[in-house]
């Protein structure tokens, strides 16, 4: 009960802060999805952000038969936007085929988050880059190439 009240108060406050970050960003920041790591992942993408020095690692577990990303986890060292975009990106990729997931764009991620402040747009690159690297890492490990996903 008490927890509910606290949550409502927090939601109210989050809406107040919406002039900086959207409600969706704040929601995911407070409760990020798919955080953590996968032991023996099928693919791992590690990226560092040259703009402000942040780091993001995305782990994927891929079904070798269907190419479907069955599980995905992320670890993020970065700002509020970085945490929200890594959460959103992994949510979008989960259950998709490699080909579909590779097509996710930073714009889609940012739009799904209800937009990001201008100077925070690069944080969304980080998540999409990490996902793409994880996919490439998987393909390379399996003697395949990115061309497989084209067409």
């Amino acid at each position: 009960m008490k927890k509910n009240i606290i949550m409502t108060l927090m939601m109210r406050k989050m809406i107040k802060m919406a002039h900086i970050y959207s409600e969706e960003v704040m929601k995911l920041f407070m409760n990020p999805k798919n955080m953590g790591e996968i032991e023996n992942p099928s693919g791992l993408g590690k990226v560092g952000n040259p703009v402000c020095g942040d780091v993001m690692w995305i782990y994927i577990k891929v079904n070798d038969e269907t190419d479907v990303i069955e599980d995905i986890k992320v670890k993020t060292f970065g700002c509020v936007a970085a945490i929200a975009t890594s959460s959103k990106t992994t949510e979008k990729a989960k259950g998709k085929t490699l080909k579909e997931a590779y097509k996710i764009t930073k714009k889609q991620v940012a739009d799904d988050l209800g937009g990001l402040p201008k100077q925070k747009m690069h944080c969304s690159n980080l998540a999409v880059d990490a996902l793409q690297r994880a996919i490439i890492n998987y393909l390379e490990k399996n003697g395949r190439s990115i061309k497989d996903l084209e067409g």
Partner: protein, 417 residues
């Protein structure tokens, strides 16, 4: 209940200060001047004089050497540009400022650079203290004797309190005047401004109103005024004086006792101890000896987590603090102070700084540490960084695989701050 731990950004105005100010809004409304001849003007003038005396006495200078301004930014602009403009067309063109000077000083200097002046930055050590040898080296260039040296007394980001007497002694050996940015140390650390040539102080960090401060100008120093259009302030700043605020400023000085400093320092030490007990993997920024720090100041970098995230989590819980993380700055650059003391960006990311005041309590500190440690645990759980990561990272850096961007305060684009 909101808990405000950002008292080096601004402070709550003391109710005694507000009370002292009130009559000057509604009753004594004349500009302070004896020339008008009516009693209101004289009363206003008396109030102005008495405020000036209080403030001058606090830093051991003459009342006539105190010029009231609109605060820190104006005082720093005045100090730096006033010296420059008084020396236009002369041979000397160089300004020295500390690498960790306040942005209002550095930005004023970058404006001067565009007018043909030269700016050189003095290095600091890993605790933020001026590198004496470097200062001497810059001062001793006989072809290029500086017009002015500017250093901070207390550093807002890392709490360092500089030994001003020593710096003044060195500058004066070379006959170069010294400006001291004393905004953050004023009333908190004893300061004898009579040994320096210019000093910036302000009201709103000591429970006085915002928008008022002063510049101490040593008698005889040649400085050009910035605001023309009146003979006010010893002919050094035109415009009707902001009397209610000046009266409030003086009242704030009057009631800021040593006892307050001791009480706040005790709270700060309690915060420091509790922090060390409850939180692992961090590094104090600035001096670790409390006597060399601002009494209300605590600052750290917390490993493997990022400052903006910490700040927002705390804000949602109604605790207000500050950070120097690159992610929380508009240009995504780490604070120039944290870079100047040699912290790489990924380390300065975890910057957290706290400014306490007499209105804070031990209970607030206990709650704060509790919240902070659970926030850190949450953020660390989702962070790829840990001790092992940092070792690998360092190895890669040592091998030259990661190229650190230079993050010192870029004097050329300082104006976009």
């Amino acid at each position: 209940m909101k808990v405000y731990f950002d008292n080096n950004a601004s402070t709550r105005v003391d109710s005694a200060v507000i009370e002292a100010m009130m009559p000057y809004f509604t009753e004594i409304i004349s500009p302070p001047s004896s020339d008008y001849g009516h009693s209101f003007g004289v009363e206003a003038k008396e109030a102005l004089d008495s405020a000036r005396e209080t403030i001058a006495a606090k830093i051991n200078v003459k009342p006539s050497e105190i010029i009231f301004t609109s605060g820190q930014a104006e005082s720093n602009n005045f100090a730096v540009k006033g010296i420059a403009f008084a020396n236009i067309g002369k041979e000397r063109k160089t300004f020295l400022a500390s690498n960790v000077s306040h942005s209002t000083v550095l930005d004023s200097l970058s404006a001067l650079k565009k007018l043909g002046f030269i700016v050189k930055l003095i290095k600091v050590d890993s605790k933020g203290f001026i590198d004496r040898n470097h200062l001497r080296e810059l001062l001793s260039d006989s072809n290029d004797t500086p017009l002015l040296v500017s250093v901070p007394h207390g550093n807002v980001e890392i709490g360092t309190v500089e030994d001003i007497k020593e710096i003044a002694y060195i500058c004066h050996e070379y006959n170069v005047p010294l400006h001291v940015e004393a905004t953050y140390s004023f009333c908190k650390v004893p300061f004898d401004a009579s040994v320096v040539d210019l000093a910036t102080i302000t009201s709103h960090l000591i429970h006085g109103p915002k928008g008022v401060g002063a510049l101490y100008i040593k008698k005889g120093l040649k400085i050009q005024k910035l605001i023309d259009g009146g003979l006010q302030e010893n002919k050094k700043r035109g415009g009707t004086e902001n009397l209610p605020s000046i009266v409030g400023f003086a009242k704030a000085v009057e009631i800021y006792s040593q006892e307050i400093n001791e009480r706040v320092a005790e709270l700060r030490d309690y915060l420091w101890q509790t922090f060390e007990k409850k939180i692992s993997d961090f590094q104090i920024t600035g001096p670790t000896k409390t006597e060399k720090r601002l009494p209300n100041h605590f600052s750290v970098v917390i490993s493997y987590v990022e400052g903006e995230s910490i700040l927002l989590h705390l804000d949602l819980l109604d605790f207000m603090i500050a950070t120097g993380s690159a992610c929380s700055s508009k240009q995504l650059k780490a604070s120039h102070v944290l870079s100047a003391i040699g912290l790489p960006t990924e380390v300065s990311h975890g910057s957290v700084r706290i400014g306490l005041s007499k209105y804070n309590t031990k209970e607030e500190i206990d709650q704060f540490i509790e919240h902070l440690s659970s926030i850190i645990a949450r953020l660390r759980a989702i962070s790829p960084m840990n001790a092992e990561f940092m070792r690998e990272w360092q190895d890669l850096k040592d091998q030259g695989a990661i190229i650190e961007e230079e993050h010192h305060h870029d004097i050329n684009d300082a104006e976009d701050d």
